[in-house]
């Protein structure tokens, strides 16, 4: 227990030492059409909300529906939304059919080995990371509760203001 406390203290102390984008944070994942998509490239457009989801995760799909509406509302202001599927080999082939059946137009990426998911500290989906234009993590979300879209709406507005010239 002593070690855990020391560990946690260490983490909290160092969390304040830097807020800049490190390349280790960057990802390079394939989209539904096999195109390579880099986080560093997406950040050039504006703040990026990365949602980690899976086809078997019911709250993920509810959150995705809400995020799709918010993306439609704020994409012209620079808000970028990407849904990263952590489906493994057993359900991977159903990702594209699900997305197309819902007529979603935002980018959907594959993180089959869950390396990107774990790099951001994801434990269970839905898990989302909101990065501002500078690449700093503005907010992390774990789980989804009905009605969370109201809070997300105001946080997108806030993130759009950060780093804007």
């Amino acid at each position: 227990m002593k070690r855990i406390i020391v560990f946690t203290m260490f983490v909290l102390m160092i969390s304040f030492t830097g807020k800049n984008f490190a390349q280790g944070y960057d990802f390079d994942l394939n989209d539904l059409d096999g195109n390579s998509v880099k986080l560093s490239e997406l950040l050039k457009k504006g703040p990026v909300l990365v949602q980690f989801w899976a086809t078997w995760c019911v709250p993920c799909k509810e959150e995705m529906k809400a995020l799709n509406e918010l993306w439609g509302k704020y994409k012209d202001s620079g808000f970028v939304f990407v849904a990263v599927s952590i489906d493994d080999q057993k359900s991977l082939s159903k990702v594209k059919p699900y997305i197309e059946s819902k007529s979603y137009k935002f980018p959907v990426l594959f993180d089959t080995d869950k390396n990107t998911f774990s790099n951001f500290g994801g434990q269970d989906p839905p898990f989302s990371v909101f990065l501002d234009r500078n690449g700093s993590i503005f907010k992390t979300y774990s789980g989804y509760i009905q009605g969370d879209d109201g809070k997300l709406d105001s946080e997108i507005k806030e993130a759009l203001k950060i780093g804007k010239n």
């Binding site: 490190a22 390349q23 080999q89 059919p97 197309e100 790099n119 009605g147 969370d148």
Partner: protein
């Protein structure tokens, strides 16, 4: 193993040399992130034979440090005792990674997938105590060239060791040391061709005797992704060579193979996927089938299961345990949204073993021989231990705040007993799940889940037909609180828990958007839990549970 340690040390040295590049960079970008999970439980585990006190305490902390092009991570674990599986205490994961543009090198612990996972798919699933993590080194490089950089190549090399312990027998550990590579090329945006090679040394215990094996796996795969059409095919071949010992007096070198294919077609509002699997990594006679067989599919091979994955409780209650050694099957899954408010999902799957067998010995001894057939497709005959399923679900948004979902599922799972066909384990279920969700005053939510299941189990000594009913009611207030209650009732006289009803209350409180505490008190029915086709039995539990999940980014 010494060579392996040398390789890991060398990788660290290489990374230290690389670290010199930090000093040439004008700005030091440092970030630390961490996540923590604490689990505590105190209660009783129920079974027909009696109740036992069950207490557990588990602590798991991951810390990651990012410094420019470097990334290092450490996991600390502690338990007193662990809920199930093998106890791990201390630093159980550590790695350092260097990433520069399209080049990545890592030394330490890692997971990896090659292609469709026929050769290599290592992963962790804590609910079933599964962990096929490697300790060693991994290098990945991507390169694009051509006029529009439209030709892409990618290669991965891995080396490492793994001690694998199954939750079913925590005193038994298999040891593996692997060297493997994966290569893929996309000569055109729509086409990808790839191949993998893996070599492993292994030590497989059977009682007090260990069998030394060496296995080689080759895999080839091709995929086509053109507009709404996606096609994927993978084939892997495996040879396992055993050293003579008290069990196998002569060296053996059986071959096995596996194939997986998927075809999907999508257009706006519609998507269909057809999956096909044919896994023959260790097709043996019924008396030779064993989880300890040195010639089985290796624990880090985990191919697609081709079976639908459910999140609702009763639909997951009688799952099919995929046998990657001997299984052939297909699955069709369709999504269709005729309007923005309505989404339909239909799924059908059929899986079976490849062959039926007969006793060819005319004396009192038994010698099984297989009845050959074209085993390209699964069979529905009991002798082939078939599993089949039909599922249909409709999701309808009455308006923005009210959602309903109704499904129906029919499953049959047969585990055939060749010695006594009358003692075969036959399970048939008919399940109806219903969900109604309503959001009001923008932040409040009410969710009702009701599931009804009619089941038949041939192994019941008394009444073989029984039903179960589960109801969950949740009330939430965004963004922080969920309160829920679950009640399950059955008329099954022979449930392993010896009970007929289970009641549980749960409270989830999010004190920030990524920090959550969950408390529950009551009884849980337990049963088989599955992850990636691997299933393990989890005991019924009655008592208090606490889970604390933290994420510091």
């Amino acid at each position: 193993m010494l060579k392996l340690k040398g390789a890991v040390t060398l990788s660290f040295v290489v990374l230290i040399f690389c670290s010199v590049s930090i000093y040439s960079q004008p700005k030091l970008n440092v970030r630390v992130s961490a996540n923590n999970m604490l689990r505590y439980g105190n209660g009783r585990e129920n079974s027909v034979t009696g109740d036992l006190t069950k207490k557990y305490f588990e602590e798991l902390a991951d810390v990651r440090l990012f410094v420019n092009d470097f990334f290092a991570g450490v996991r600390y674990e502690y338990d007193d005792p662990i809920e199930f599986g093998k106890s791990l205490k201390g630093i159980t994961r550590r790695f350092i990674e260097f990433k520069k543009d399209d080049f990545t090198v890592r030394a330490g612990n890692y997971y990896e997938i090659f292609g469709s996972g026929l050769t290599l798919n290592s992963f962790e699933s804590r609910p079933i105590g599964w962990n096929t993590e490697f300790d060693g080194a991994k290098v990945n490089y991507k390169y694009s060239f051509g006029k529009k950089k439209n030709v892409r190549v990618e290669g991965t090399l891995v080396a490492g060791g793994m001690d694998f312990t199954d939750i079913n027998d925590t005193a038994r550990t298999e040891k593996y040391s692997i060297r493997a590579g994966n290569f893929s090329i996309s000569p055109h945006k729509y086409i990808t061709l790839g191949g993998s090679y893996l070599f492993t040394d292994g030590k497989i215990p059977t009682g007090n005797i260990t069998t030394d094996i060496a296995a080689e796996l080759f895999e080839g795969n091709a995929s086509l992704n053109y507009k709404g059409l996606a096609l994927l095919f993978s084939y892997a071949n495996k040879v396992t060579i055993s050293q003579p010992n008290a069990i196998f007096t002569q060296s053996k070198a059986p071959r096995g193979d596996g194939a997986y294919g998927s075809l999907s077609y999508t257009r706006e509002g519609f998507g269909i996927t057809v999956d096909y699997k044919n896994y023959r990594f260790n097709v043996t006679t019924p008396d030779q089938r064993s989880a300890n067989d040195p010639f089985k599919a290796l624990p880090f091979q985990n191919a697609p299961s081709c079976i639908k994955v459910y999140s609702s409780t009763l639909l997951s209650r009688f799952p099919h345990n995929v046998d990657f050694n001997d299984e052939v099957g297909w699955q069709v899954d369709v999504f269709y949204s005729p309007t923005k408010k309505l989404t339909l999902n239909a799924n059908a799957s059929l899986t079976s073993r490849h062959y039926d067998y007969f006793d060819a010995d005319t004396t009192t001894l038994t010698r099984y021989e297989r009845i050959d057939r074209s085993a390209f497709l699964p069979s529905t005959k009991n002798e082939f231990s078939p599993y089949w399923e039909l599922f249909f679900e409709a999701e309808y948004y009455v308006n923005k705040d009210l959602k309903t979902k109704l499904g129906v599922s029919r499953k049959t799972n047969i585990l055939y007993s060749i010695n006594d066909p009358g003692a075969s384990d036959i399970i048939r279920t008919f399940t109806i799940p219903l969900e109604v969700q309503y959001t009001f005053a923008k932040v409040y939510g009410v969710k009702l889940n009701a599931e009804f299941q009619q089941a038949y189990n041939s192994l019941r000594a008394g009444e073989t037909n029984f039903w179960s009913q589960l109801t969950t009611l949740s009330i939430s207030r965004s963004p922080s609180i969920i309160v829920s209650g679950t009640a399950e009732v059955t008329n099954d006289e022979e449930d392993p828990s010896g009970k007929k009803y289970w009641v549980k209350g749960e409270l989830t409180y999010k004190f920030t958007s990524a920090n959550t505490i969950m408390l529950s008190y009551g009884s849980e029915r337990g049963g088989l839990q599955c992850s990636s086709g691997i299933c393990r039995y989890v005991n019924p539990f009655n008592g208090f549970r606490l889970t604390l999940i933290n994420n510091f980014n």
